[in-house]
């Protein structure tokens, strides 16, 4: 699928990595719901969730950035939500649910595991705060994030959109039986299988490109599928999250198939891989990374948007029985 020149935003930088009017941004739809900022001092909040919808509990994630580009990391924060209005803020915010947000650490560099929350440079810990939250109606909502930082209380708020229905395949829904590319797919450039596999470089995680989503479902086997473009990701997290899924593949290959779907068939020509488009391209927009766990029955068991961690995924994998090969 070829995407229009101005239509596609592959991933919104989660933690405010973009800036200014020239930065890529969301055009709505299912995408990152994001965010207006009113920070005490210089604390900045940005909702990092994609595809929030009214209904039952779902994963809500928000990133916090302190002055000088430091990430607020570790520990936990208090979240309080309020409803702003169906289409825009109409009157006083209506109080909504409250939650405790726990730190979800971006996989990758050895992190310091400091007492938190604390503002640290990227090399000492990056991540978001997550909680399971339910929103009772669609519209515009606001989260107020409170934490103790630098010896005093700080707060930041961010607005976000809650859809009436999920736009991206949701938990409990049938997985799309797409024929994602594998290393054996004929006539496909390596970079379309994994954007890191270009310029003569090997695909770094061949175990993630052995089977298609369709074939895994056909065999009634569970699959953990990561949609990400490690090279062309606008956020900072696609590569580390793909690597995290690869590390899980090495430990749990007897329990599920592990599949990486590269987003781009051809980045320079703006051509998406069909499987990525079928799953994620909505309203001329695509946001990644995403990780989906597909059950042996072909339905989506769990999904993680944007920032996925092994700590969240492993409990699901541990519960799976060994596959019959």
């Amino acid at each position: 699928m070829t995407v229009p020149a101005a239509g596609l935003v592959v991933t919104l930088a989660v933690l405010l990595s973009a800036c200014g009017a020239d930065a890529p941004g969301s055009s709505g739809g299912s995408g990152p719901s994001s965010a207006v900022v009113k920070g005490g001092d210089s604390l900045v909040a940005q909702v990092a969730s994609y595809d929030l919808a009214a209904g039952g509990k779902q994963r809500f994630i928000v990133g916090l950035l302190a002055a000088k580009g430091r990430f607020v990391s570790y520990g936990h924060v208090a979240m309080s939500f309020s409803y702003l209005g169906r289409h825009k803020q109409s009157g006083a915010p209506q109080p909504g649910p409250r939650a405790t947000g726990h730190f979800l650490e971006i996989p990758g560099d050895p992190n310091k595991h400091l007492e938190g929350p604390v503002a640290v440079p990227a090399s000492q810990g990056r991540g978001v705060y997550g909680a399971d939250v339910s929103f009772d109606k669609p519209g515009f909502w606001q989260v107020s994030v409170s934490t103790a930082l630098n010896g005093g209380p700080q707060r930041a708020t961010a607005a976000f959109q809650v859809l009436a229905h999920h736009h991206i395949p949701a938990i409990g829904r049938p997985a799309l039986r797409t024929k994602s590319l594998t290393l054996d797919t004929p006539g496909v450039p390596r970079a379309a299988i994994d954007s890191r596999g270009q310029g003569g470089q090997p695909v770094p995680d061949p175990e993630l490109h052995k089977t298609t989503i369709a074939d895994s479902i056909k065999r009634h086997q569970p699959a953990l599928v990561v949609f990400a473009t490690p090279v062309y990701c606008i956020s900072q997290f696609c590569g580390p999250i793909t690597n995290m899924v690869d590390s899980l593949a090495k430990r749990y290959s007897s329990k599920a198939n592990f599949i990486h779907v590269e987003i781009w068939r051809n980045f320079n020509k703006r051509v998406l891989n069909k499987s990525a488009a079928d799953w994620l391209y909505r309203d001329k927009d695509l946001h990644e990374p995403w990780v989906f766990l597909i059950g042996a029955n072909g339905r989506i068991v769990a999904r993680w948007d944007n920032v996925a961690t092994a700590a969240e995924i492993e409990p699901y994998l541990q519960k799976l029985p060994r596959m019959n090969s």
Binding site: G20, A21, A35, K68, K88, P121, A122, Q161, V231, I234
Partner: protein
């Protein structure tokens, strides 16, 4: 105002505010800490390339330290640079992102210094090119 427009506005506000907080706007005319580079530059995107120069110098003795400089002082702004360059020269942005990924994957504690320096050198070249695409000049170390 349509929902789409409203969200777009909200997102724009978010980014603008983020830039204010982090001091990482791509445009000119804001001074920020020179970081490890020791070079005082006004655009954070130019400063990011100056930090790459510092990382390259450090890589000869300590690739781990070079990685920290890359992550803490350049990575975020290079993503911004790629985003800005993409609208004018998609291939230049692609080359920059490829070079960034190579550094992120290949410059670590234990990496051979020569290899680390080569990866950082390529990244400096591509970042310099991307700066040119958006009308900014790279710092002297990258010339």
């Amino acid at each position: 105002m349509t929902r789409r427009l409203l969200v777009a506005v909200a997102a724009g506000l978010a980014f603008a505010a983020a830039a204010c907080a982090s001091g990482s706007a791509g445009g000119p005319a804001r001074v920020r800490s020179a970081g490890t580079s020791g070079v005082s530059v006004k655009s954070p995107l130019v400063a990011a390339v100056a930090s790459l120069c510092a990382a390259e110098k450090r890589s000869g003795k300590d690739p781990g330290s070079a990685r920290r400089i890359f992550l803490d002082e350049a990575h975020e702004d290079l993503h911004t640079l790629a985003g800005r360059a993409e609208g004018k020269d998609r291939q230049a942005a692609a080359r920059l992102l490829v070079a960034m990924e190579a550094v992120e994957a290949g410059v670590k504690p234990g990496t051979q210094p020569r290899r680390a320096a080569a990866l950082l050198g390529t990244l400096i070249d591509e970042a310099t090119g991307a700066l040119g695409v958006i009308g900014l000049k790279a710092p002297a170390c990258a010339a």
